[in-house]
Symmetry: C2
């Protein structure tokens, strides 16, 4: 199956972000066959296309990578807003999650995927309670998902994580799995050491929540006499790299470790704002060359799964933090939302619009008033762009969202299943 897209403003995200006018993209099955100037396309392929789409100057670019989320928490969207992180977790979320079954998680993951597609997100880095159900939802929806281990003192185990690592990395190519645990404050030292041993055995990176709130970093220091990252690193957790989700409250000493050990930071500015956790030192991360990606966090703490909001906040909050309107330019934000995400998620084959890569691509509307006039396309995307501009979202060559519709999925059926589960759980 050949799909050809012509007359696009093409942003391949290979190297420095820039716009190729009159671009063409040719997709063969699940891969990019050609992406570049229209005039060069026939050298790569001069046969017929099954589908030819005139983009009329609209943008084609790699899909956004939501590098930290808990997708199935769509269940708890707008549930218990207005609480600080610890109260919200212990009083509201944990009791509800204790009743949340695998089948229910399957449905609410599908609901979250619908929302990802409307925001041009083609892959997520998910951490949640029932990894096999999450994987099943992603396979059924045709969505790309990297899952992260969720081990902690209360659920899952290192043995279970090893089993998931082996099985989910060898099944549907849309699904993959990375070692990880919930957070320092929910894992015993023994457990963290066991995870480090598994990382050593697999020669694999480890991800976890870290340095999200002031309270968390203070309490780690009380418990262990060390800063969070210093402590985790001392246990060997990052010997094969990895990453932290949030990274709001990080000292210079910890940044040295992030830099030296090639540890990524996944920013979650929407969630950190809504839960009043703080603003991450993004300028410092960029200055040190630390790989910095972007995530929405779960839809219960954000509350939406919208990479356009995260992109504006990633630069906007940094400008406020630094007192500098030049902080974190648009091109850096676009890298965070795309290639930097792929890099920490192990998606080296779904990174850029380049021949041979997976065809994970979005089309953004340049005929919407918020994208006019055209003074600077990259600025338009980051500062003015909105999910309302997403005309098409393609994963592995399949169009999963187009012109407001989901061609392979009955959204109302998912809404109705979600409502039934709300009733079962006593929320309605």
């Amino acid at each position: 199956m050949i799909k050809k897209f012509i007359n696009a403003r093409l942003i391949t995200m290979e190297g420095k972000p820039e716009v190729i006018e009159n671009g063409t993209v040719i997709v063969k099955d699940d891969k990019i066959l050609f992406a570049g100037k229209g005039e060069d396309a026939s050298k790569a392929y001069d046969g017929d296309a099954d589908i030819e789409n005139d983009c009329k100057g609209n943008i084609l670019m790699p899909g956004f990578k939501n590098a930290h989320t808990h997708t199935a928490m769509t269940l708890m969207r707008s549930y218990a807003d207005g609480l600080p992180l610890q109260d919200w977790l212990t009083q509201k979320i944990f009791p509800l999650e204790a009743k949340f079954t695998g089948e229910q998680i399957y449905t609410f993951t599908k609901l979250g995927i619908l929302e990802y597609l409307t925001s041009g997100i083609t892959a997520c880095f998910d951490m949640y309670l029932a990894p096999e159900e999450t994987a099943r939802a992603c396979s059924d929806m045709g969505f790309r998902c990297v899952q992260c281990g969720n081990v902690n003192n209360f659920s899952s185990s290192v043995e279970n994580m090893e089993r998931l690592y082996d099985s989910l990395n060898n099944s549907d190519p849309l699904n993959s799995y990375i070692l990880g645990c919930h957070a320092e404050y929910t894992c015993s030292e023994e457990l963290l050491k066991d995870i480090a041993s598994l990382a050593e055995k697999k020669k694999a990176p480890v991800f976890l929540h870290a340095n999200e709130t002031k309270k968390e970093v203070d309490e780690c220091e009380e418990r262990h006499g060390k800063k969070v990252i210093t402590y985790l690193d001392s246990l060997g957790l990052f010997n094969y790299g990895g990453g932290i989700y949030h990274g709001v409250h990080v000292t210079d000493e910890e940044m040295d470790i992030l830099e030296k050990k090639n540890i990524s930071v996944v920013l979650n500015p929407g969630s950190n704002t809504k839960l009043a956790s703080g603003i991450a030192p993004v300028t410092e991360y960029l200055k040190r060359g630390i790989n910095t990606a972007l995530g929405t966090d779960g839809p219960s703490s954000n509350n939406c799964l919208d990479m356009f909001r995260e992109m504006f906040l990633a630069t906007g909050l940094s400008k406020l933090r630094d007192g500098n309107a030049s902080a974190v330019p648009a091109e850096e934000v676009l890298k965070m939302a795309t290639v930097n995400g792929s890099d920490c998620m192990g998606l080296e084959n779904a990174r850029t619009l380049t021949a041979g890569q997976q065809a994970d691509m979005v089309m953004l509307d340049m005929h919407a008033p918020n994208m006019r006039p055209v003074n600077d396309v990259l600025s338009n995307i980051v500062y003015s762009g909105s999910k309302s501009n997403v005309l098409m979202t393609m994963v592995a060559g399949r169009i999963l969202y187009e012109s407001g519709e989901f061609p392979h999925c009955d959204k109302e059926k998912i809404y109705s299943e979600a409502e039934n589960i709300q009733k079962e759980l006593g929320l309605l």
Copy 2:
């Protein structure tokens, strides 16, 4: 002409914001004839409707009021991003504006109105260079616009403002005009006193930019030995009320004046974020009962005209500022974005969905994944809502935007005119 909307989740915004399930709204010509429970509708009107719309559980609520903007600055969207306020104004914006003609302003105002409609905005409080051209654009588009005087040392005059006040308040009912000037730092004391005299003569409120940056408030104190609001009030500028745009850096002493003189504050969180100006003390404003509205500011400093972004930021930034996830609840934000805006803009007839009011109304999609599940409709709008949820925008009973289309307007013609002007001004 009778238009009937049934099966809506109705938020009238009369009193405390709440949702009426199975609501009906009947619009007769430019006014609301009935808005309430479906079962009560026939008491108000039991005849036929020219148009009957089944809302299928979607939200009907008053349109958003963008209470501070410079609409025609769409010209400068994504132009010179990344500069602090003073450099951005003096090096980039002012030189370009010096070449900007009335006819050009007419076109770029129309471009901005298209964008307002996509975000459910039914009225704006505009301050710009060619008020009669702005009014003409709004009349031609059927859009409601309150303009604010723009007098300063370099352009316009008090005499011109009086002429505009008399003419624009007595022409097309979609257009109105409020006294105002640019800012303390661009107006001589003599000019400010003349404006205060005109306010006295008309017994009318005065609006202006104030307390936006730290630099501005420090320089006012150096010049006049007084804080900005204290200084302006000492000249009699607020003897009939009025308001300030921005209100980021405000002392307790100045808040006392805001409270006593019934002066509104129009927040511009998107712009204050992008220009690194700071975070306004919103919690303190609400505690004091100061009328607090929301605006996008101009599309050159924001860069988009999206009230959903402003709503999230109004509460989110306050949570960060206060270190309190409970700060500024969703209901307060919805009031800011609707009735509080009407109150400061003198739109007492376009405030709520109530019989006799102007039919300025929006329909928001509850069948989009970001609005599901339905745990709390008001939270969904403020924390998860997006312009992608705007299904319909109606001003004075006319549907100006529906399902992504502008039924009374050729958007491509406006884009093409805008592009021609970019070329004339040397931007392309």
